[in-house]
């Protein structure tokens, strides 16, 4: 089983929503579409599902061209950011609804709904209506509806975006397990790099209707092909600067920050990309370099501390573990972990592969 987009392009009027895309998703994989709002995640999913037709290009499923095939005939299911359930149906009826339409016997429906409900911890709520449930339970119901059908293709469009933090964490942990022994292709759209890392599988980074990079999630994260992909896969935003290499010395332009490295690349001009969590208030790794920082904003996010700082013309973000309180305007020292630096050439391509 595989889903393949061949030269797919989507235009609405004069606007191009999806630039020519080639993508092949394999059987039994979870594929994350990672990109900000309006990156084209939803459009891409709708094209995959058959809810929308590509302007040009073809969609192949299991070696068959399914480009014009209606969504009802494709055996796919979808979960949305909003909690979509039939408002007048009970949880049981909601989960059973996709099966009823296909005309499966009621004994079997009962059994399958029971199984899925148990999997999603809904067994106690089968007789309730959606508006009596919490947001998390409503979304679980929607997920159950998607799972009960044994679809070939399951599309999840930011399913956790409307949940509060705790429920999101909980469901995010469960999600990969739900799909573990299912014969299907899962596509998961999200704006949050953290989601992609937790879910694993494969990731496609998207920006402005273009698939920037597709591969194993960890590979895309640690070896972004280019600066754009690295930026998409970084939250808080990646810190970048123009640098100059001479011998073993790397120096940031118009700035006195410099470090030494035996990285085998030609002398010349490069761009550096440093993820916020590689700049910390404490030393990490064996090779770190100090940077003077003037604190702009210091804020806590969960058990992490986010410090926005300046150094000369640099305006960067650092992310440290634990509570690191800094005062606004304070001059302090931060440490950058050189081993994790990403170097890009003038065409924004990564130069220090693995």
């Amino acid at each position: 089983m595989s889903l393949e987009l061949k030269e797919v392009e989507k235009k609405v009027g004069i606007e191009t929503h999806i630039h020519t895309t080639n993508l092949k998703l394999e059987k039994n994989t979870i594929n994350v579409l990672l990109g900000s709002t309006l990156a084209g995640k939803t459009t891409l999913m709708q094209i995959m599902a058959g809810l929308d037709k590509p302007t040009t290009g073809e969609i192949w499923f299991n070696g068959k061209n399914v480009t014009g095939k209606e969504v009802q005939k494709r055996n796919c299911s979808m979960v949305y950011q909003q909690f979509i359930n039939y408002p007048n149906f009970t949880v049981y009826e909601n989960i059973a609804s996709p099966l009823k339409i296909t005309g499966i016997k009621s004994d079997e429906i009962k059994e399958r709904v029971g199984k899925v409900a148990e999997l999603l911890k809904l067994s106690a709520m089968l007789n309730k209506k959606p508006d009596e449930l919490s947001g998390g339970q409503q979304q679980r119901t929607a997920l159950a509806r998607a799972l009960v059908k044994d679809s070939d293709l399951i599309l999840l469009d930011e399913p956790l975006a409307n949940l509060d933090f705790k429920l999101r964490e909980e469901l995010r942990e469960e999600l990969p397990k739900l799909f573990e022994d299912r014969d299907c292709i899962v596509v998961y759209a999200t704006t949050e790099p953290q989601d992609a890392l937790m879910i694993g599988g494969n990731t496609a980074t998207l920006l402005e209707g273009k698939v920037i990079q597709y591969g194993k999630t960890l590979d895309v994260y640690s070896k972004p092909e280019n600066l754009t992909s690295a930026k998409v896969f970084s939250d808080p935003p990646m810190n970048t600067a123009e640098i100059n290499k001479k011998g073993e010395t790397f120096k940031i332009d118009n700035n006195n920050v410099e470090w030494k490295s035996n990285l085998k690349i030609k002398d010349g001009r490069y761009k550096i990309g440093i993820r916020p969590h590689n700049i910390t208030t404490y030393q990490e790794g064996n090779n770190s370099v100090e940077i003077n920082a003037k604190v702009l904003i210091s804020e806590l996010s969960g058990s992490e501390s986010l410090i926005h700082f300046t150094n000369g013309k640099l305006n960067w973000v650092s992310l440290s573990n634990g509570i690191q309180s800094k005062n606004i305007g304070e001059e302090t020292k931060l440490y950058m972990n050189i081993d994790e630096f990403l170097y890009f050439d003038q065409n924004n391509r990564l130069v220090n592969h693995g």
């Binding site: 599902a49 809810l51 949305y80 979509i84 408002p87 609804s97 996709p98 009596e132």
Partner: protein, 288 residues
């Protein structure tokens, strides 16, 4: 800490009390006052107890006009709700058609009620009116000033023309608030158009439809101006609805006592039906 007693805040509430008194309590109490007394003019009153209420409740005239009123309202709701929902479903959801449709739909609602009555009176006149004349020329024996069936037909047609838009606008607003994802989800499930209407659109429109039914019930149950101008309650008493009858009794015959009693009964009927209806419709709400 010692609290000093200071009740000056009550002064701020006085304007509201005065306003409410003048727009609700005082006029209503005047009617209550009349309903229990006999008036002889020049402000001479005699206590009559519940006599007028008994009289009205047993009067055939009241029964007849109440019956007409109930039938009229029932027909109005039966036509306007499905028609309104139907029109709302066919209205465009985006593009230039939206403002055009909305303006066209709002038009009847913007016309003063007595103008609507006058318009339809002239429109339906059997000799010179476009509608009346056309109907007669294609072979119908149509004359709303003389045949009660025709009078009913014309009154209902006029009300449908005047007020269906309200149901349309409310339904349209309700439909537009349904997120597109619902339709997509239904499409993926393979639901038919009827399923979508029955299981998504109708439940999602429940609140606005409740409002539409309430508004249409109240307005049609209290209809006065349009039939007053169109038929004046005639021919005979054929379209003599409750409020028309009430005004005839109060200002035509100057039977202030019975008219006041009738007003109160009328008011209580409207209040009661609205309350029952609202309670039933909203029974499931408020749990979420």
């Amino acid at each position: 800490m010692n609290k000093t007693l200071n009740q000056k805040a009550w002064y701020f509430v006085i304007p509201v009390f005065v306003l409410v008194a003048f727009n609700a309590a005082v006029p209503l109490m005047t009617v209550v006052n009349y309903s229990f007394q006999e008036t002889f003019g020049s402000n001479v009153f005699a206590w009559e107890g519940t006599r007028w209420f008994k009289e009205i409740l047993h009067s055939e005239r009241f029964h007849a006009s109440l019956g007409r009123q109930v039938i009229f309202t029932f027909i109005i709701l039966l036509i306007q709700l499905p028609l309104g929902i139907g029109i709302a479903l066919t209205m465009p959801k985006k593009g230039w058609g939206v403002p055009v449709c909305l303006i066209l739909m709002s038009m009847p609602l913007l016309i003063p009620w007595n103008v609507v009555g006058a318009m339809w009176n002239i429109f339906a006149l059997p000799d010179i009116g476009f509608l009346g004349n056309s109907l007669n020329s294609i072979g119908f024996d149509y004359n709303f000033t003389q045949q009660s069936g025709d009078a009913w037909f014309t009154t209902i047609l006029m009300d449908v023309w005047h007020w269906t838009s309200l149901v349309v606008l409310l339904s349209y607003a309700g439909l537009n608030s349904i997120q597109p994802a619902y339709y997509q989800a239904a499409e993926i499930d393979g639901a038919s158009r009827w399923d979508i209407f029955r299981y998504i659109e109708l439940p999602k429109m429940k609140k606005v439809l409740t409002l539409a039914i309430l508004l249409r019930f109240m307005d049609s149950f209290m209809i006065y101006t349009e039939p007053f101008v169109l038929t004046g309650g005639g021919p005979g008493n054929a379209t003599n609805f409750l409020s028309l009858d009430l005004v005839k009794m109060a200002l035509g015959q100057f039977d202030l006592g019975p008219a006041a009693a009738m007003s109160l009964i009328y008011f209580l009927i409207v209040l009661l039906i609205c309350w029952i209806f609202y309670t039933i419709m909203m029974k499931d709400e408020g749990r979420a």
